[in-house]
């Protein structure tokens, strides 16, 4: 697909995607409720931290961390896998393939188009965080905010490429849904979504630092809450974008080889 076609069509894809997201209000609400786990963890860890800090986390730090986690998850979530899986298995991917816009761009646009609705949920939480824990909840360094923005983009891209790559496996195996479930188990445990990564034992953390999960949630949250100096943050961003590149490459290979196997079942 030419880049020109895609760029021309992208605003319309976003507009239609937004209207579609608004049409599925109930689904969106359920999805948002399903992402409230950080708020549960917030309640749990602040109770535990009442007796004293755990690592570098006292009660205010836990509040800041988990509210930031909630916001980052809203901004970087993706469900493209579920649509891909259904469309590959039912053959409805055919209708996307007939259009001169790459289906993966279309999925990405649909994902981005839901962002305004998610901001509607995230912004009040951000406001609550500021009022609750004060300005110390977040970094005051403008450079760090810039790096945070880059890390959110990177986190979204890794999540999107994971969705695409596992979605592409639907071309090859019937059980790609199970693979996604398995990925999500690792994601929840190792990304910092349920437990801050720096509370892991040292040996485990050394491994986690080289896996993609932390860069889907943990890194943006850590940058937002001012956990790293600039040099360290840049190093971590380097690793994050290495995973973005790996995700892009893997998706590209799987998509091309998968399409050759596409059977366009039904009708």
């Amino acid at each position: 697909m030419s880049l020109r076609s895609t760029v021309t069509a992208f605003p319309t894809l976003l507009r239609v995607g937004f209207m579609d997201a608004v049409a599925y209000r109930a689904e969106l609400l359920v999805w948002m409720l399903a992402t409230t786990m950080p708020l549960v963890m917030l309640a749990l860890f602040t109770t535990v931290a009442a007796d004293g800090p755990i690592g570098r986390y006292g009660q205010p730090q836990f509040i800041a961390y988990f509210l930031a986690t909630f916001i980052v998850r809203q901004l970087t979530g993706s469900w493209a896998f579920y649509e891909m899986n259904f469309e590959v298995r039912s053959g409805t991917l055919a209708m996307r393939l007939l259009r001169p816009v790459h289906p993966l761009w279309a999925y990405a646009a649909e994902n981005l188009a839901a962002l305004p609705m998610r901001l509607l949920v995230s912004l009040p939480v951000a406001a609550v965080a500021l009022v609750w824990v004060g300005r110390q909840a977040t970094t005051h360094d403008p450079v760090m905010w810039g790096l945070f923005a880059v890390s959110v983009l990177g986190a979204w891209l890794i999540t999107l490429f994971v969705n695409f790559a596992v979605g592409c496996l639907s071309f090859f195996v019937e059980s790609s849904m199970k693979l996604m479930d398995t990925w999500l188990v690792f994601f929840f445990v190792l990304s910092g979504y349920l437990i801050p990564v720096d509370l892991f034992p040292h040996g485990v953390r050394a491994v986690v630092d080289w896996l993609p999960f932390r860069y889907q949630i943990g890194l943006p949250v850590e940058l937002m809450t001012g956990a790293h100096g600039t040099a360290h943050a840049l190093g971590l961003l380097g690793r994050q974008w290495m995973w973005v590149a790996i995700g892009l490459g893997t998706t590209s290979v799987l998509w091309r080889s998968g399409l050759r196997r596409f059977a366009a079942y039904g009708g």
Binding site: S5, T12, V16, M19, M95, L97, F262, A264, G267
Partner: protein, 331 residues
């Protein structure tokens, strides 16, 4: 326009007998079978032609259309559509074609069809003025009216199909692949869709390939048919010639001014019955007569029987096709 040579599409299909034991065994040992959905077919289609693809279920018609549209990659063989290799799915190619699948939809389910039209305008990069003109024309021909403003999910099957066709034609494709476009529609909606497709072909000179289980679609729209059975091409030519070749008889329908015994008619040809003979005199009779004997039979029937009305027609295409496929099975 379309050139197909030695086209094959084979699938490897996992086969498993029914039952829990077989399901468990298949965890460790899987048996696969190769299915030849399309098995070495050749044809050419010139620009502006209307061609019907006929064949029993599973013959390979839809697979062939999907190969032509670039959705499937051929196992072997060559396909060229207006100089493009479909499987490459270049922008320029996708902007020239459209595949309408009667059992799949491209309309956005929760939004009005007008949003899908707008989306297609953007992705096919259709200039605004041309889009407005095309939509005006399509609305008129398909009598879309206010349908385009209602959410797709609230439309009836026929209304949806009309909107599907409109969405498919926003970019005025030069090649139109229609797979069962009238499936499930009532008779009047089928006629509307057929009429529209024919007018589109005439207006834009578009090349049209159609598959349908409704023989009337093919009879009305396609002077040429390609018959596929078990993935192989068994006939390519004029529809009329196919009918003549398979059933070289005509059907004469006689209506009488008084009841007539079948025995008075039996010598003219083969009596076509809906059910078992009752032996009772009847007011009308249908006869299959060899085409060379039609003149003689008509003359004799008019002179010997109380004929009030008489029609001569070709046997129904459904019967011709049944006979053709039955021969295929026998061979």
């Amino acid at each position: 326009m379309i050139r197909v040579r030695g086209l094959r599409k084979h699938y490897k299909v996992h086969e498993r007998p029914p039952g829990v034991a077989a399901a468990f065994r298949s965890l460790f040992h899987r048996e696969y079978k190769t299915v030849a959905a399309v098995d070495g077919i050749d044809f050419r289609i010139e620009p502006g032609e209307r061609v019907g693809f006929l064949g029993p279920n599973g013959a390979g018609k839809t697979t062939t259309l999907k190969l032509l549209a670039g959705l499937l990659h051929p196992t072997s063989g060559e396909v060229s559509v207006d100089g493009h290799e479909p499987r490459r799915r270049e922008d320029a190619y996708l902007k020239k074609i459209m595949l309408v699948l009667g059992q799949k939809q491209q309309l956005l389910w929760d939004l009005p069809p007008s949003e899908t039209f707008e989306l297609n305008r953007a992705v096919y990069d259709v200039p605004r003025a041309q889009f407005v003109e095309t939509m005006r024309e399509l609305s008129e021909l398909l009598e879309l009216g206010d349908l385009v403003k209602r959410p797709t999910r609230t439309l009836s099957l026929g209304e949806r199909m009309k909107c599907e066709l409109a969405a498919a034609l926003v970019h005025r494709p030069q090649v139109l692949f229609l797979d069962e476009p009238t499936i499930g529609l009532d008779v009047s909606m089928q006629a509307t869709v057929r009429g529209f497709v024919q007018r589109y072909n005439e207006r834009y000179g578009a090349t049209l390939i159609l598959t349908s289980h409704y023989m009337e679609d093919v009879q009305r729209l396609c002077p040429r048919v390609i018959v596929i059975d078990k993935g192989k091409l068994v006939y390519d030519g004029a529809l009329e010639e196919l009918v003549t070749r398979i059933r070289p008889d005509k059907r004469i329908i006689l209506r009488f001014s008084r009841p007539v015994d079948e025995s008075e008619v039996a010598s003219f040809g083969t009596i076509v019955r809906d059910g078992e003979p009752t032996g009772a005199p009847c007011w009308s009779i249908a006869l299959d007569v060899h085409m060379d004997a039609v003149n003689r039979v008509v003359t004799e029937a008019l002179s010997r029987l109380p004929v009030r009305d008489l029609t001569v027609e070709s046997p129904p295409l459904e019967e011709v096709m049944s006979e053709l496929f039955a021969r295929g099975k026998a061979s």
